[in-house]
Symmetry: C2
Subunit: 343 residues, 2 copies
């Protein structure tokens, strides 16, 4: 038999005050409260004041979930990075977060662990949250992921590297950065140079830098040996890398490390071993982390403007969200060779 005798169904939802209650307290309709809070310029000043008082009075906290469902869009920005262990991404995130939060957007952070399948899963989840935009590190995605994003009509920003992007793109040319450092090492007179990277299949941007490095060395008719470590960048791994170079390439006079963590680890390890840098071995890195600038000798590295990259990316996305013309779909933030005393 049907639910004929029973009283009303048990209530659902939380017991938080709702728009309706604010509306009753202010003597207006719910939609006026909604407008007073979201588009205050469309409500008479006096009404608005009355509404805001009512909000305080009943202790109203807007239910953003309901708002997002009704408007089919949330003020979330999905941000996907490969790792939180790497200071580089943290700095980009900081640039993004500051810019987006100032405009009332909330960042939804996802971490792929350098796994494109995880990226796909994250994108799925984030689409489910009706995000306003997606910012992701890198230009490589799985086919499944591309399938999802192909149907999506909100801004997509790819950061870190430059190239053929889905939509918007802010980054730098890693291959050129690799060339730049290789040329520097050649200019310093080094002829036996080893490149040391870590997991270049996953950290493929380091692989692109190696490609640039090799191109320059081969153009100078030199070998471009590569040592690939099996752990991602860390001081420990860098120390191990130095040991491998000393063992495997006794004639090596310079090491081009894939990043500053490795390079600094090697530099500090060299000191412990009593090696002179750059006298016995020159060491170069990539990233321009603070750390490398505070060791003696100061590390030669390539600085990239990461917080700026995050900020610029956020600004382009915001422009798109404001329906303003996007000035540049692709933006090169460049890099700077910082010559220290380690080369």
């Amino acid at each position: 038999m049907s639910n004929s005798n029973a009283g009303p169904r048990r209530r659902r939802g939380s017991d938080q005050p709702t728009l309706k209650q604010v509306a009753d307290a202010a003597g207006v309709s719910p939609i006026t409260v909604s407008r007073a809070l979201n588009t205050p310029e469309r409500v008479n000043e006096e009404t608005r004041k009355r509404v805001l008082e009512a909000v305080d009075q009943v202790g109203y906290v807007p239910n953003l979930v309901a708002g997002s469902l009704a408007s089919a869009s949330s003020r979330f920005i999905a941000v996907i990075v490969p790792s939180l262990a790497n200071a580089v991404f943290i700095e980009v995130i900081r640039g993004l977060q500051e810019t987006f939060e100032a405009r009332g957007y909330q960042i939804l952070l996802g971490n792929t662990d350098y796994d494109l399948d995880r990226e796909y899963q994250l994108v799925r989840t984030f689409l489910g949250w009706s995000c306003s935009a997606l910012v992701t590190a890198g230009l490589r995605h799985s086919d499944a992921c591309l399938g999802l994003l192909g149907h999506w009509d909100k801004p997509i920003m790819e950061v870190m590297e430059l190239g053929e992007a889905l939509d918007l793109n802010v980054g730098l040319d890693h291959q050129e950065a690799g060339r730049c450092m290789a040329r520097h090492l050649l200019a310093r007179g080094h002829r036996s140079i080893v490149y040391v990277g870590a997991c270049l299949d996953r950290d493929y941007r380091a692989g692109m830098r190696f490609a640039g490095h090799r191109e320059v060395l081969e153009a100078a008719c030199l070998d471009a040996p590569l040592i690939e470590l099996d752990r991602l960048g860390s001081l420990e791994a860098g120390a191990a890398g130095l040991d491998q170079v000393l063992g495997g390439f006794p004639g090596a006079r310079a090491i081009h490390f894939a990043n500053d963590d490795l390079a600094t680890g090697a530099l500090l390890h060299a000191q412990r071993l009593g090696l002179r840098v750059p006298g016995d071995i020159a060491i170069a890195g990539f990233n321009g982390l603070t750390l490398g600038q505070h060791v003696t000798p100061r590390l030669t590295t390539i600085q990239s403007p990461r917080e700026t990259m995050g900020r610029l990316a956020a600004e382009q996305v915001l422009r798109r969200l404001d329906h303003q013309p996007v000035t540049q779909r692709q933006q090169d933030v460049g890099f700077t060779l910082m010559v220290g005393q380690s080369t």
Copy 2:
């Protein structure tokens, strides 16, 4: 006149496939699709298979916003930290994220910039998202914030420090850590010890460590001078701190820094100045960052298990969310004095 002549209203919402379409494709009702996806054990195996095929076929991506509204709860965990610039919080976040993501919860990250008003705003926003739980760094909150949280019935986890908590608490005793390091410096024979901190009003946990430090020194009838820098921890600030100590306290033989960033910056600066560490001046830090363990001499510091702290915190919260008894409302993760060669 009313909308009598017009056809149906223009459609709203996105054009993504919905549960209904999956249900039609699979020949079941929408609720069965919902169950097949969210509580598969409540659906017949064969039906489930048919539903999953239909999901793939129509390219369905669940609308999590709608789900959250209907169920009055999202799978969001709000995480509030004072800063992303400090590696310490990043590590805690990593521990939280790994544990929560493995269980299908998504982290909503907020950054207060050490401002309790910002914390209140973030809490408001996060409550609006129907988060499943809140994890926040620290035990200090504004009255407005306490007002909001007082009415809230979901788990609240306060991390980093130990004390009188709102609900759950995982952390360590900072005052005791300060005492511990002070005792170590005394045991090393130092009598003229300066504490150097940065913005102790905002980074009040460093202030608590100083309180412990002072307590021990005063018990030994020694002065406990304090130098407070106006920038938060960084290698640069540490170098400046060393200069200030050398200028202001020429007799100082040891410096207890509020954190490893400062201490390492000072240590590297001392080397540039040609000072022997610890011969001319001893240097101690706090945090046990990798960095300090790779300089020569190795930094004496106090290690706290931050990633573990994040993991433990997440596990307690998950236990609560699973309606399992919480084993400990308060958990002390402790700390370890790591004696290097810098003292």
